[in-house]
């Protein structure tokens, strides 16, 4: 069957083209990502401020994790990092929970064929919209809405129209500011999560819903017994990617402020890193601490990432590989057998 040309082509090794095609990715990645990462790792073993450039071994790590180190204020550095980590978690959790609940509810409604919902397409378009707006602009927008004095929209509204006496300090009191960040994050992301979940629900075999319906299950039963269990993988995926995204939370917490200082109540680990290495000349910055904190985030991300990695594995490929291995084994076994019989 195979022509001469085909045979010839089969015999040529195309492997070198494979390397050529993937080379640009690896070159650029090594130069702009891997080396900076290694460099950050190296920085994490070097000193801060006046001590900058000197090797200090694990000092930055002991400072951040144990609160013991060269810096007289080591314990305070640890406290600040832990506070940032805690706040990161709070801000993430406070936006993830409402976001996933809202998105799930909407996704179920939007995919429910029984509900007569006009303008579904319009709703989807509008609800996804916040997600594409520049985060810096969103921060600026919400600062102008929720600023601390009557110069800003919400306080002005409450004071002019609802007779409130004193403005609410949304930005400078810890919890209102945090809740505002959670709200903004939810506002930004619920549309995205909703669409992801919708495509997940639509991927479920419709006959399952029909069967449940025929068996007389009501909608909440269908939701809890059919939809939710089948959505589990995509939910876990959303959870983990959202956690990793949460660790990177920077723009909104950093920019939600009036004036030049970021709010300490909103300091996340990403802000902690940035503020430590971006403090002017090297001899007043804390490059070592920034490096060590980066590495700690890296480790946390790596743990979370390995979960998604595990889930993202190309299952067919793995199955194929297993098959190939099995076949190889069998073949070898046969050869052995053959060898023996010979």
């Amino acid at each position: 069957m195979a022509s001469a040309a085909q045979r010839r082509i089969k015999s040529i090794s195309y492997a070198k083209y494979g390397y050529m095609f993937i080379a640009p990715f690896f070159l650029v990645y090594a130069f702009f990502q891997i080396w900076p990462l290694i460099y950050t790792f190296i920085l994490s073993f070097k000193g801060n401020q006046s001590n900058c450039g000197a090797w200090v071994g694990l000092d930055n790590y002991t400072t951040i994790v144990l609160g013991q180190g060269l810096a007289p204020g080591a314990a305070n550095i640890k406290a600040e990092f832990l506070q940032a980590l805690g706040q990161t978690f709070i801000l993430w959790f406070g936006n993830f929970v409402p976001q996933i609940l809202l998105s799930l509810l909407l996704a179920v409604w939007f995919t429910d064929a029984k509900l007569k919902l006009p303008g579904k397409g319009f709703f989807k378009v509008v609800m996804y919209m916040p997600n594409i707006i520049t985060a810096a602009s969103v921060a600026a927008l919400y600062v102008n809405l929720f600023g601390d004095s009557e110069r800003y929209f919400v306080n002005s509204l409450l004071m002019h129209n609802f007779g409130m006496e004193d403005p609410i300090k949304f930005l400078s009191t810890p919890w209102p500011a945090r809740i505002l960040v959670m709200f903004i994050q939810t506002w930004l992301w619920f549309g995205n999560t909703m669409i992801m979940l919708m495509s997940g629900i639509m991927g479920i075999n419709p006959s399952l819903f029909e069967a449940a319906d025929i068996d007389g299950a009501n909608s909440s039963q269908i939701f809890f017994r059919v939809t939710l269990p089948l959505l589990q993988p995509i939910m876990v995926y959303t959870l983990v990617t959202s956690m990793i995204g949460g660790l990177q939370m920077f723009d909104i917490p950093y920019l939600l402020r009036t004036g030049a200082q970021y709010s300490k109540n909103l300091e996340t680990v990403a802000v902690f890193v940035y503020a430590n290495f971006n403090n002017g000349p090297a001899n007043v910055s804390n490059y070592g601490l920034a490096g060590a904190a980066s590495m700690i985030i890296f480790v946390i991300t790596a743990i979370l990432g390995s979960i998604t990695f595990y889930m993202n594995r190309d299952k067919d490929e793995i199955a194929k590989k297993k098959q190939r291995k099995r076949a190889e084994k069998q073949y070898k076994a046969k050869m052995k057998q053959g060898g023996l019989t010979l």
Partner: protein, 472 residues
Amino acid sequence: MSKLTRTLALLAVLAMSATAFTACNGGSESSNDSSSATESSADESSADESSADESSADESSDEESSGEETPSVDLTDDDPTLTIVCWNNNDLGPMMDMYGNENVKWEQSGTDGTSASTEYATFLGSGKDIDLFVAEAGWILNYITDEYALPVSELGLTKDDYKDAYQYTVDVATNENGDLMGCSWQAAAGGWAYNTDIAKEQLGIETPEDMQAAVADWDKFEETAGKLKDATGGDVYMTCSLGGMWQCYSTAIDSAWVEDGVINTATARDFAEMAKKYVDNGYVNPAIAQWDGDWFNYGVDGKCLGYFFSTWCLTQGAQLEGNCGTEGNWNIVVGPQEYFWGGSWLCVAKTINTKATAADFIRYFTVNKDTMKEYALSSGDFVNNKVAMAEIVEEKSNSNPLLGGQDQFAVLTEVADGINMSDSISKYDQSLKDSFLNTLKDEIESKDVDTVIADFVADATSKNTDLSAPEA
């Protein structure tokens, strides 16, 4: 496969060799041992001279004024544009207008003094064409290192040129080698500016003398604040921000933020105790951060009696005009304590290539008595020349329409004479001040003074790994 690994390895080696020698932005260590400063600046100048020789003939001709006074250095413009970096144009705007040279350009880095202190590091270090940069007292020490700046002697300026200047402006900008690294065009004496309408209506105070008597010291200041609160039912605050009060309170007491690597909290604690009283009594709104949107608006809105304003707030288009309007219903007095507020220095960037114009510009605003006097009269800035200021006060030639015709210089000359900050500044000052004022702003309303100070120290020591907390 081997090709790929080899390329990757090569790349990694290249990258490492490019960076391994310098760990953090190169010259970080150099600020500690400044002995290398002279050497490198000497190299720099000789290199500049040789390059200048090649191209001097055609370009130096347009600058006549600087030549005669500077025999020792060869000043040429290798590039026609003089670029000055600052975080705003409050001062540079009027200066450039008066100087009248189209080739002087302003470049912005940072959105206020604090952010400029961090932005400058990359901005100045990125090798772009910058000739001069403006620095504030709080962080000038970070940038008058040989990594970023050259001594002003590169422009033929010596300390002798500044014999009529206020001494502190020379002291602050002198590095450990005794080199003068920056020239200030202003002496930043501060006063207390107040709204005369509010003073008259609410307190019955008619003249600046009466106002000065009413705020002569902190006890009287507090007493007046109480009267104001009773009269207005708390609608009008005594002053706009704790930040302004702190400036007045702290600089009057000559105490350094850092002593031998230990944070000095004595003044901060005293102030926090005072601030607590003010906040509890509703004399001042702690939520207003210095320089934020509300700070600017309180004056025009008539929600505070006064501001602590330094001389550079009184220039045309600066805070006095912006915050208080142009109706001239404001006056200035010395206030509870004589104080001063930072000041700005023109420093010579390492990348300077417009030396002739730069030298001329600096002389024009920091050395030449006549032009400085003219600038003081036209802009309202308090220039860094005792003789010029004395002449203006004597001639009574200045009247500020924003202050209803009052001469602010007459009020502030004495204050300026008394400024002394030679041994009290450190490179951590801006960071510590910001840290303190932020903690104060967030916590003074709800927490006691001990907690506020403890939190401030915790914040400051976590941001500054060099510093330690004072012993309890």
